[in-house]
C-alpha cells in the first residue's frame, strides 16, 4: 500500500518519516521518531500507556494511524521534562512514589499534564476520574493521585506568586 510522508511536530521539533497508512501512531513515534517513552500495554485501547498529547487532546496513540495525525503537534513524556530539568509532575511522581515499574508512568504523566490544563485545581475524585483511561499495575493509584494533587498545588502556588 502506498506509503506517505508523515510530518509531525514532536516535542517542538518537526519530524518527517515515510509510513504505511496502517502504521499506528505509537509505532511511528517509537520506531521511527525515537520517542520510546510512550509504551504499549494492550491491544484493546484500555491501558493508556501509549498516551500522548496531540493538539490539546490526550490521545491513545495505539488507536490512531499516524496518517490521521498528519501535521499534528505532539507532546510525549520526553517533551515535558528531562532528567536534569524535571517537569513539576515528574518531580512529584518521584517525591510521592507515584511509580514503581515505570511502564505506565509516561502515559500517566502526559495524561495528568493535560488534565491539569483543563482543570488546574481538581479534587481527588476528579483526578481519579480524569486518569481513568490509564491503568497501573504497581501503585494501586493512591500515590499517583497524591503526586498529581501535589503537582497541581505547586503549579497553582507558582501561578499565584507570579501574579
Amino acid at each position: 500500500m502506498t506509503k506517505q510522508i508523515i510530518k509531525l511536530t514532536v516535542n517542538g521539533e518537526e519530524q518527517e518519516v515515510l509510513a504505511e497508512p496502517r502504521e499506528l501512531l505509537i509505532y511511528v513515534l517509537r520506531e521511527k521518531m525515537g520517542m520510546k517513552g510512550p509504551h504499549v500495554g494492550c491491544e484493546t485501547s484500555h491501558c493508556g500507556a501509549c498516551t500522548v498529547e496531540m493538539d490539546g487532546k490526550s490521545v491513545k496513540s495505539c488507536t490512531m494511524f499516524a496518517a490521521q495525525a498528519q501535521g499534528a503537534e505532539i507532546t510525549t513524556i520526553e517533551g515535558l521534562g528531562t532528567p536534569d530539568n524535571l517537569h513539576v509532575l515528574q518531580e512529584n511522581f518521584k517525591e510521592h512514589h507515584g511509580l514503581q515499574c515505570g511502564y505506565c508512568t509516561p502515559g500517566m504523566i502526559t495524561r495528568a499534564h493535560r488534565l491539569l490544563q483543563e482543570n488546574p485545581n481538581p479534587t481527588e475524585e476528579e483526578v481519579r476520574f480524569g486518569i481513568a483511561g490509564n491503568i497501573c499495575r504497581c501503585t494501586g493509584y493512591q500515590n499517583i493521585v497524591k503526586s498529581i494533587l501535589s503537582a497541581a498545588a505547586e503549579l497553582n502556588a507558582a501561578k499565584e506568586a507570579a501574579q
Binding site: S45, G48, K57, V59, K60, F65, A67, G130, A132
Partner: protein
C-alpha cells in the same frame, strides 16, 4: 495489534467521501474517531481495504442549537459534548451520558456519529437517541434522507444505513424534562451490564410525559412505549415505578455473556430502570 494494510483516503467534503464509497462499495469504510473501528482492525475482525478519514469534512463538525432544535455533526466528539455549556442547557442528559462513556482519551476522539452508527448494542448513545426521539440524517449518492433513531437499529451491527451512505447529523428537540442516564458497569470504560435513559415531564404532581429507553439489554437499543404509558398520569409513586419497570423488562431480551447470565441482567436492569425513573422524576 497489527492491522492489515489498506489505502487511506482523506476527502475534504462529503462528495469526495461518497465517491470513494461508491467506487469501492463493501471494501470501503468511513473512519471517524477510530475508537471502535481501529480496535477491530487491530484484531483483524474488520477488513477494510479502503479507509475514508472524515476529519477534514467541516460540515460534520459543530453543535448548533437553534429555536429549540439541537443539531450535532456526526464528527462531534464525546469531549465536545461534555464541555458544551450550550448543549448542557439544551439537553443536560447528553453530558450525563457522555461522562459514562469510555475514558478521557477515548472521549477526545470518539464521535457521536460513530457511536450511533456503529450498531454495537453496547454503545450508550443509541438508547439515549431513542429516548430523545432523535433523527439521523444520512447522505448518499441519491441525496439526503432522515430516519428516526427509534427505527434505525435492526440487529447487532445492522442498521438502516446503507453501506454507501454517511450519517452526517443528529437532530433532536431541546428538552428541559427531568433526566437521568443510569448505567451499571463493571468498571470505567466498560459497556453497560444494563443502562437506562429517562426523560420525564411534570404537570402539577403527575407525570405529563415519559420516555424510557435501555442500553445493552437486547441486540438493539430498546425504547419502551409500555414503560412510558405506565408512568404517564401517575404521581410517579412506588407502584407506578414498579409497573413501569415491569413493563420495560417485558421489552428487553438480554443475552448471557461475561457480564452475567440473563437472570442477573434482568435483575440489574430492574434496579437501573427504577433508579433512572426516580432520578429523572426528582429533576422534573
Amino acid at each position: 495489534m497489527i492491522p492489515a494494510a489498506f489505502e487511506y483516503h482523506r476527502p475534504s467534503d462529503i462528495a469526495g467521501a461518497l465517491s470513494v464509497l461508491a467506487e469501492h462499495g463493501d471494501d470501503a469504510r468511513v473512519l471517524a474517531g477510530g475508537h471502535s473501528l481501529i480496535p477491530m482492525m487491530k484484531l483483524r475482525m474488520a477488513d477494510v481495504p479502503h479507509l475514508i478519514d472524515l476529519q477534514d469534512i467541516d460540515v460534520l463538525k459543530g453543535i448548533k442549537i437553534d429555536g429549540g432544535t439541537v443539531t450535532i455533526g456526526a464528527m462531534v466528539t464525546q469531549h465536545e459534548i461534555i464541555v458544551s455549556d450550550a448543549l448542557f442547557a439544551a439537553a443536560p442528559i447528553m453530558r450525563e451520558a457522555a461522562l459514562q462513556i469510555a475514558d478521557p482519551q477515548v472521549r477526545y476522539m470518539g464521535t457521536i456519529g460513530g457511536n450511533v452508527a456503529n450498531g454495537d448494542p453496547g454503545n450508550d448513545m443509541p438508547g439515549l437517541m431513542q429516548c430523545l426521539d432523535a433523527s439521523f440524517v444520512l447522505e448518499g449518492a441519491d441525496g439526503t434522507r432522515t430516519t428516526k433513531a427509534r427505527d434505525f437499529y435492526e440487529a447487532a451491527y445492522m442498521t438502516e444505513r446503507d453501506d454507501e451512505e454517511i450519517l452526517t447529523h443528529i437532530v433532536f428537540d431541546a428538552t428541559t424534562a427531568g433526566y437521568a442516564y443510569e448505567k451499571q458497569k463493571r468498571k470505567i470504560g466498560d459497556y453497560a451490564t444494563a443502562a437506562c435513559a429517562a426523560l420525564i415531564t411534570k404537570d402539577g404532581d403527575t407525570v405529563a410525559s415519559a420516555s424510557i429507553s435501555m442500553t445493552n439489554l437486547s441486540d438493539v437499543p430498546v425504547f419502551s412505549e409500555a414503560a412510558n404509558a405506565a408512568l404517564v398520569g401517575t404521581t410517579c409513586d412506588a407502584a407506578a415505578v414498579k409497573a413501569a419497570v415491569a413493563a420495560a423488562l417485558e421489552d428487553i431480551d438480554p443475552t448471557e455473556d461475561n457480564r452475567g447470565p440473563v437472570e442477573f441482567k434482568m435483575h440489574v436492569a430492574g434496579i437501573i430502570i427504577a433508579r433512572a425513573i426516580e432520578r429523572a422524576w426528582s429533576r422534573a
